[in-house]
């Protein structure tokens, strides 16, 4: 009987261990594959020059600029809206039907396939509002994608601020707004920033939305109304049209490094915060 238990236990343990190992191996394989194929192509010229020639030799500078531009702008658009909405939901709204509806809408928005969001961006921003294929259209459409992520993480971050810390503030004669703005939001800030970074990482890797809204033109955008091609779109075209596979892998590797950087900085922020508060 006891042996049986021990065997079941060992079996379960090895299944878990195997599943965990598979995850790590898969991730490692993907990274390694892209790394091996891409690293040979990456050098300063690849990062800092324009592509030229029929096979788009040369660098991907315009795509890097367009990618950072569109995600940065999307972040600027989304942060104030999402944070204010989350503060309202967590601190002010009477918890009831309306709040549940807003939360459900946010969760559903998060689940909308990005190609649908791209189609919407094309119809609404590019054509409807007449902004045209541009960084601005792309950023607006991307902000729809980021909004629910930032909103929900912010809401949870605010709720996670302990009640007795707020009470300390109220106990000193602080008003609700003073408590929210001087205690609750600053205390939640590291986790809010983490949410923003994760959403930004998601946006950097987004393809469908930007192909519909920013276009595919190789152009180094300066104004928000300029068009551009994101790194993901470039990667797609290089690979699918068989133009330049090594350049595609080089782009892929740079993209992965960027996203890894976002995720690592989010983790670093959380850790630092835990150390400071613990």
């Amino acid at each position: 009987m006891r042996d049986m238990k021990r065997i079941t236990n060992a079996a379960a343990l090895s299944v878990f261990w195997f599943a965990g190992l598979t995850t790590v191996v898969l991730l490692g394989a993907v990274i390694l594959y892209v790394f091996v194929n891409g690293i040979g192509h990456i050098n300063l010229a690849f990062i800092f020059t324009r592509p030229h020639g029929v096979n788009a030799e040369g660098g991907i500078w315009p795509m890097i600029v367009a990618t950072l531009y569109v995600t940065g702008l999307a972040m600027l658009i989304v942060t104030p809206i999402a944070v204010l909405a989350a503060v309202y939901l967590a601190e002010y709204a009477v918890q009831g039907r309306l709040v549940r509806t807003i939360r459900f809408a946010a969760d559903t928005l998060a689940g909308v396939p990005s190609i649908v969001m791209g189609l919407f961006g094309l119809a609404f921003f590019v054509e409807g509002l007449g902004i045209g294929f541009s960084v601005l259209s792309g950023a607006l459409a991307l902000s729809f994608l980021m909004l629910p992520i930032v909103m929900r993480t912010t809401e949870e971050a605010i709720r996670a601020v302990p009640k007795y810390i707020r009470w300390g503030s109220y106990g000193l004669g602080a008003t609700k707004w003073q408590t929210v703005s001087r205690i609750t939001i600053p205390a939640a800030m590291p986790r809010i920033i983490t949410g923003i970074i994760l959403a930004t990482g998601r946006a950097v890797g987004e393809t469908a939305v930007v192909i519909f809204t920013m276009g595919t033109m190789i152009f180094t955008p300066v104004l928000p109304t300029d068009p551009g091609r994101s790194m993901t779109v470039h990667l797609y075209q290089m690979a699918m049209e068989g133009i330049n596979l090594p350049a595609a892998f080089g782009t892929a590797l740079l993209l992965m490094v960027m996203i890894l950087f976002f995720n690592l900085s989010a983790r670093w922020l959380l850790r630092r915060n835990r150390r400071m508060q613990g």
Binding site: I165, W167, G171, G173, Q178
Partner: protein, 274 residues
Amino acid sequence: MNHTLAELQSGVAPAADPTVKIAVKGLDFFYGDFQALTDITCDIRDNAVTAFIGPSGCGKSTFLRCFNRMNDLIIGTKHAGLITLDGQDIYAPGVDPVDLRRRIGMIFQQPNPFPMSIYDNVAYGPRLHGMKKKADLDEVVETSLKRANVWKEVKDILGRGGLTLSGGQQQRLCIARVLAVQPDVLLMDEPCSAIDPTSVQKIEDLMAELKSSVTIIIVTHNMQQAARVSDETAFFLQEVMGEPAMLVEFGRTAEIFTSPKDKRTEDYITGRFG
């Protein structure tokens, strides 16, 4: 001089007695449908330490939170009866609970420094209420930390995070933070139950010094502490689960501990002294 129930209910206007800081008359308190307190009547003396004792769940914290209207923050609470501070009804329509809480500071069982520097923790209240000059703030921070018996330990690390201190130091930091807004009443809800003995000693010392200028109410489960620090003691009891708690006995601490009038008080105290 124990106040008998008859004395307490005789209806002497509380404002007429200048030694009374807070007067409570016939207070009932409800969390939704659950009544937590029934018909509490008592006078809290000015410039004295009053201890609230009684088993867990008998409404001591609830009662304490009535004085600074902290219960207003909990949805679904309501009360009946009268509480006056210096003769003024604190639940009167014109009273802003935010102003009231400046005058009635509160210390919680769990030390709750804000996630900011020691200096900013203490300066938080004065800044809220409009103090801006660095020199003024410096002075308030120093005086408050001194009054809270923690200055020596933190004077060289004022820029460090409040949460890096030990639990006992954090609690004294919280006391300094409250003193910085110069309250005339200090509510302490089991302030010593989560901290080290050295800090407990320091807090008991500072209470003795503060009481010439501040009226203190302390909830404690430690009978020795109640006997050491308080001038008057109130014993609360919830006799039946689900029924409201009441004030069983209230009087001079020396008398409550040596010759309680009520059998239930005696049983509780002797039980707790072991």
